[in-house]
Symmetry: C2
Subunit: 145 residues, 2 copies
DNA sequence: AATAAAGATGTATTCAAAATACATGTTTAA
DNA sequence: TTAAACATGTATTTTGAATACATCTTTATT
């Protein structure tokens, strides 16, 4: 059980952008170098974060990205749900092809589903702001300023 | 985010075995037919369930498998932890190769870790017995008796 | 206007892990 | 002795994520 790197990277982009002052822009190249991630791959993640209205992207020279709203309004649980789009924990979660013969009467899926909700309940308690609380320390690690 | 089919299948084996009366044996062929799973693959899962002391296996003609202990003593959370052995939700969970530069000061891993604990806290509340509570219905679906 | 920097986007390739298949061995009741 | 059943190592297939490649569009600067 694990989150996709895609989700991991997406969260890092938000963290990095959330660390900048005011409306300062950061560009993909910079982020890809800091985290040592493929620039093109990151571009796709950024593109999706933009579609999800979590960041703004500004094209062209001197362009870049920035958070689309204050860090305290970006909920971690919601972001993870959006980036990580497949939560079919068991085969029978996927209603389309529920092949397991015991599926109709089986309690397992309900139990796992409850567990999944508990998982998100915790994430829902945090915003991006909470994650960058120890901002000074993070900035140092990121080599900002 | 999802559990491996391996884990899914392992749980089904336990459910199926737990459904039988007393010390009645079931064999892998039977289970693989009911769930339409590769018999050999299932063999390996059964082998591991046996190593984990969740089932007993009896070799030879008229052999088969059965639960190693009463269904009410088999905890769902523990089984899932044992079958699903990789819980590196984020890259930085893997201490060996924590490449992310912000890892030392980043709060994200702690938050996700809390969420993971909440996930298992729910699973820990259930035993195999709880899952086969509506035994009659399940038996019908499984074609038992 | 030309240019360069930056994001947008579609396609293809690589890679890893899971799932499955194949082959053969061992055990044991009939 | 034989057949049914689990044991176990190796190999192949499949799938999806990650990455690479290529090209396009946008926009500030000169």
């Amino acid at each position: 059980m694990n989150l996709k790197k895609y989700t991991d990277y997406g969260l890092r982009v938000l963290l990095f952008a959330g660390m900048k002052e005011n409306d300062e822009l950061v560009n993909i190249k910079e982020i890809s170098e800091v985290f040592n991630i493929s620039q093109h791959h990151l571009g796709k993640i950024v593109h999706e974060l933009n579609k999800l209205e979590l960041i703004e992207t500004i094209r062209g020279r001197n362009g870049g990205i920035r958070l689309a709203k204050p860090a305290e309004e970006i909920n971690v649980g919601i972001v993870v749900r959006q980036l990580e789009n497949d939560f079919a924990m068991l085969e029978c979660f996927d209603k389309g092809q529920s092949h397991c013969v015991i599926s109709p009467g089986c309690m397992l899926k309900h139990v796992v589903n409850r567990a999944l909700h508990a998982f998100f309940k915790v994430l829902d308690e945090y915003t991006l702001k909470d994650l960058i609380h120890n901002e000074e320390e993070l900035k140092e690690w990121m080599g900002i300023q």
